[in-house]
């Protein structure tokens, strides 16, 4: 028995989740299909975590329109969804006088795109703002902001579900048939029927289009590696520090970005790779990133790096062609009723809420949109225990003894907060899912103490045997069995 929907969204990245949430404002039956065991597992979670203002996207492009519109929505959206959001500002730093014309070009682009408060400042002003940064001049964008993209994506998904949308996880789409008004989508969680389909599959948008018979798109995976700098060095910078963009337009250049949690990100590289799943980090790029960052921030030391990660940009231009590739948001003429979002790379995170509004408009072209009277835009989370003053902590513990049990000592995450993450509205039952929702295991010890305690709590709360638990879904198993089962394997000779 297949379920019947008005709109099926393929892909649970930040764009897909923003669409599901936007569509839940209306009286529509919405389903989102995600191939992984949680939302936000692809490019959405592996980027610079920046809300861009829109000065480095060409005037008149789709990217420019959606970037500026999205950035304006973020402040309110984050407040509604209890997602931390900080306007830390951005400096694009010219190291030499001959780079100043580039700053002027960026400012002109920004002004024409409608970015407010852009200003070119001199070396002294840079040092006043950022004592550790040396530069000749800089473009200052005070409204640029940072967020946590994982928490953003999860919040959008949870709010969508609270407003009636359905989210199916572990549901890779394997076939799409039918036409507008009667699509059939086969997935790892069975078949759904839907009147309309939105292809928000990110890196795999070309593949999902092909499943429906649309062969006009090709995505080139372009890997970006990042280094994460220890919190102990968080006072090195206050806002984002960007270089003048390198020629060729494959990225924004290696930049330094403070994170919501107090680390500094350094990256990304830009390297076309053959496989979309090749998000491995490399020693060579780690060295280059450090060298490039030290040009701005000589005080940075390779020993300050705590870990590395990589994300893959879904590019619509190959490395051979190069240059700017715009967002493609269109219904292919050969298949009405299916909207393709292709090449949603940077500034996709920023643009996501605006893209979602465009998608809602498109849905409106196919069927009338009626407001959902039960829509509630807010997802209120209590403030993290560790951020509260002692008196408030005391009264919380008095009300709920689970607040008095600290599960993660590095990040001071309480049992109550872990329980909430375990019983999350999306029903994500992976160790990684609990980690991103509660911050357990994300501290200095990387779960050395709290990892086993969380695993034990999941076993108790969900009734899942530990031996079936995974880090982030099928294949990422955590245990080979019980200790006492190991001897059934061949024992070595003494």
């Amino acid at each position: 028995m297949s379920q019947e929907y008005d709109v099926a969204v393929v892909g649970g990245g930040v764009v897909g989740c923003a669409i599901a949430r936007e569509l839940s404002r209306y009286q529509l039956k919405v389903v989102l299909l995600e191939k992984e065991s949680d939302v936000g597992r692809g490019t959405s979670g592996k980027n610079s975590a920046v809300v861009h203002t829109g000065f480095n996207v060409p005037v008149g492009s789709v990217k420019a329109r959606l970037n500026v519109a999205g950035a304006r929505m973020y402040g309110e959206l984050c407040a509604q969804l209890s997602v931390p959001f900080k306007r830390v500002g951005k400096l694009v730093v010219a190291l030499t006088p001959d780079q100043v014309p580039e700053l002027e070009k960026l400012k002109a682009t920004g002004d024409r795109n409608g970015v407010s408060a852009l200003e070119i400042i001199g070396g002294d002003a840079i040092r006043r703002m950022e004592p550790n940064i040396s530069g000749y001049a800089a473009l200052h964008a005070p409204t640029a902001a940072i967020i946590c993209p994982f928490r953003m994506t999860i919040a959008l998904a949870e709010n969508a579900v609270a407003n009636g949308a359905t989210i199916l996880l572990d549901a890779p789409v394997t076939a799409i048939s039918g036409k507008a008004g009667a699509f059939r989508i086969t997935s790892g969680q069975g078949t759904v029927r839907s009147k309309l389909v939105v292809n928000a599959a990110g890196l795999y948008a070309d593949h999902v289009a092909r499943l429906a018979g649309v062969r006009r798109y090709k995505i080139w995976p372009c890997r970006g590696e990042y280094l994460i700098i220890d919190k102990a060095r968080s006072d090195l910078i206050h806002g984002m520090i960007y270089p003048v963009p390198p020629k060729g337009g494959s990225g924004l250049g290696v930049h330094l970005t403070p994170t919501i949690d107090g680390n500094i990100l350094l990256g990304p590289s830009a390297e076309y790779v053959r496989s979309k799943s090749n998000d491995a980090t490399t020693a060579a790029v780690a060295r280059t990133l450090m060298q490039e960052a030290q040009q701005f921030l000589p005080a940075l030391n390779p020993r300050d790096v705590i870990t590395a990660y990589a994300g893959i940009r879904p590019k619509t231009v190959s490395s051979a062609v190069g240059g700017f590739g715009d967002f493609i948001i269109e219904e292919a003429p050969e298949l009405p009723g299916m909207l393709h979002l292709v090449g949603i790379e940077s500034p996709g995170l920023t643009a996501a809420p605006a893209i979602a509004q465009d998608v809602a408009q498109w849905v409106g072209l196919h069927q009338p949109l009626q407001a959902n009277p039960a829509f509630h835009p807010e997802r209120k989370l209590p403030a993290p225990f560790h951020e509260l003053p002692t008196e408030q902590q005391a009264s919380l513990v008095a009300q709920d003894p689970d607040y008095g049990q600290i599960v993660c000592r590095c990040e001071t995450v309480t049992r109550s907060e872990v329980l909430r993450a375990i019983h999350n509205p999306l029903g994500v039952h992976t160790l990684g899912g609990v980690k991103y929702r509660s911050r357990v295991t994300m501290g200095r010890c990387q779960g050395g103490f709290c990892g086993p305690r969380v695993e034990e709590m999941m076993e108790e709360e969900l009734g899942l045997p530990a031996t079936t638990m995974t880090q982030r879904g099928p294949g990422s198993w955590l245990f080979a069995g019980t200790t006492k089962e190991l001897r059934t394997a061949c024992a070595p000779k003494l």
Binding site: T482, T483, K484, R487, A491, K493, L494
Partner: protein, 121 residues
């Protein structure tokens, strides 16, 4: 015969040169204490190890109880002892020092609990 040994009696881990014949240890040098003599004689003529492992517990606050052989067993029998203990299960409560398997594999050594495990709940 001559050979080099690391004495494992204590963490000092002395590097010892030893000389022996068919039946007895003749000399050792570089050992910091006299315990090395007995250990190296053992290593040559009858090497032994204490086996420390765990045993399943039914109804305990923990699923396992740690155990050891009260005295060292012949080194060649260590894995046989592990096999013997693989499917042993005891009922909680278990007391520290409690004999779990007497005279394991006829070695003359008892397997004893090295901690307390209370009833669950």
């Amino acid at each position: 015969m001559k050979g080099k040994f690391v004495c494992v009696v204590c963490p000092t881990s002395c590097d010892v040169n030893a000389e022996w014949n068919e039946t007895e240890l003749l000399s050792i040098d570089h050992a910091q204490c006299k315990l090395a003599w007995e250990f190296i004689r053992g290593e040559i003529f009858d090497p032994r190890r204490t086996v420390t492992t765990s045993i399943m517990v039914d109804g305990g606050e923990l699923p396992l109880v740690s155990v050891k052989t009260r005295t060292p067993v012949p080194k060649a029998q260590v894995l046989a002892v592990m096999d013997r203990l693989a499917d042993v299960m005891v009922r909680a409560p278990v007391d520290i020092g409690e004999v779990i398997v007497p005279d394991v594999l006829g070695t003359g050594s008892d397997v004893v609990a090295t901690r307390k495990v209370k009833h669950k709940g």
